[in-house]
Symmetry: C2
Subunit: 302 residues, 2 copies
Amino acid sequence: MVFNVTILGCSSATPGWGRGLPAQVVNYNEQLYLIDCGEGTQMQIQKFHLKANRIRYILISHLHGDHYWGLPGLLSSMSLQGRTQPLDLYAPRELAEILTVQFRCTGIVLQFPLHFHALNMEQPTVIIDNEQLSVSTLPLVHGLPTVGFLFREKEKPRNLIKERLPSDLPFEHLKALKRGENVSWQGKLLTASDYTRPPKPLRSYAYCSDTRYHEPLIDHIKQVSLLYHEATFAEDMAARAYQTFHATAKQAATIALKAEVKQLVLGHFSVRYRELAPLLNEARAIFANTAAATDGATFQIA
Amino acid sequence: MVFNVTILGCSSATPGWGRGLPAQVVNYNEQLYLIDCGEGTQMQIQKFHLKANRIRYILISHLHGDHYWGLPGLLSSMSLQGRTQPLDLYAPRELAEILTVQFRCTGIVLQFPLHFHALNMEQPTVIIDNEQLSVSTLPLVHGLPTVGFLFREKEKPRNLIKERLPSDLPFEHLKALKRGENVSWQGKLLTASDYTRPPKPLRSYAYCSDTRYHEPLIDHIKQVSLLYHEATFAEDMAARAYQTFHATAKQAATIALKAEVKQLVLGHFSVRYRELAPLLNEARAIFANTAAATDGATFQIA
């Protein structure tokens, strides 16, 4: 089952060096989740051959303009392109006012239902919860209220080893085995460990941007498969990072190390860095399995 | 003296086929005027190697989103890039509310003075008037209040033919000759036609987008050097053009012909047209000196 993330923009504040403004698309089982929507996101979606109308959810981390100024254009284009499917938008509550004023002044009437969900910016909250996946918020530390997003696969049933099972075993017994319980059948004990295989490990993805270095985050993202953490600055700019509520590459790697994640992707780079090797090297010295985001790159979550 | 226009985006409503959303930069004597500011304008400015901080005026024709959704990002980036020079923004009055709400919710404080001038959307009005150039509005016919913009060079003085002039001719007499008046000096009549050359012809530029075919426009743009007129559709879509308050390429050419302009540039193309040859051919059948806008192209105003 597909679970990956495609970077649409990994610059911060202003675009530069071929890096667009913050936006990325999580694909879970062909359901698309857009995280943040900086100016130009609709162009990046076209450029990287994604289908805007397959986006089912939009999640906005905070209301710095580089994270949402592409939203009115994307919504408007979806409508012009004939979208009728509903779209769920999760964002800080002030975004409703911003969109309402613009749609009123601009005379826009979207041709699809847009469901606005105001985020609780203070407490970790489950915002999307379906059979296979939950998405919850991760409060971060930034210049204005900001949350990250944590995608977790749900507990899956064990897989039956069909060739070992008695052919007439009742359905209820099969379900119990899949839950990992042992069952008795015709005087014989059938153990879950003999008749089922464990499910594939649960996969998870954490998006943490924008934020200062924030240790309380570690418990929430423990052992995630993939962590996207902002790395606006190199370490020689640590004071500036602190002052502007951002993180360095080394700090991102320290979070990854302490949270024992599988892989780290750095993003949200200041335009002062044309080359990212210095940031990547500083991070890899702490946490080896680190990559730098590039626009258009897809990272598998495994 | 430089007088040209560089197209930053010539698509309409949604971007496509390598065409960005409406925006263009008029350069008059190295003073830059940005007309409209669709989403992605700041990226186009970078792409085509213009200097955002040299823009002195921004003019917004109307409040359909494709004409202004790049504005918050551009203003924010100008500020982050250290702009301190004032900027004059001419736009429909509702834009002030839109920007105010966003700046408040986003916590943006621009580091330069932004002077907002609400446009009179009903009457042709001179909005910028300096020694060399005037800019005035041209009310258009569109789905919501919309104006075009007319740039006209001011009447210039005649050029003195210095080698013919008596070396001791008083300054007041020189000024009179430059105004085209004859003067008497030491019993001799010096005629303006003998001692001065006529100034270069006055140049002018009209931006007319978005609009229906609108004949009252013709008087206002009579004999302009360059007319940029929207041509959203080909002629087989004339009914759709009328219904959506847009024009066809043929209608744009008809306006150009009747107004006796020197050159016509078509723009604001619907994304339904990958190739523009059909629109260009329809226009050239009416008005030969027609070009199609392309992003990044600079047209001299002569």
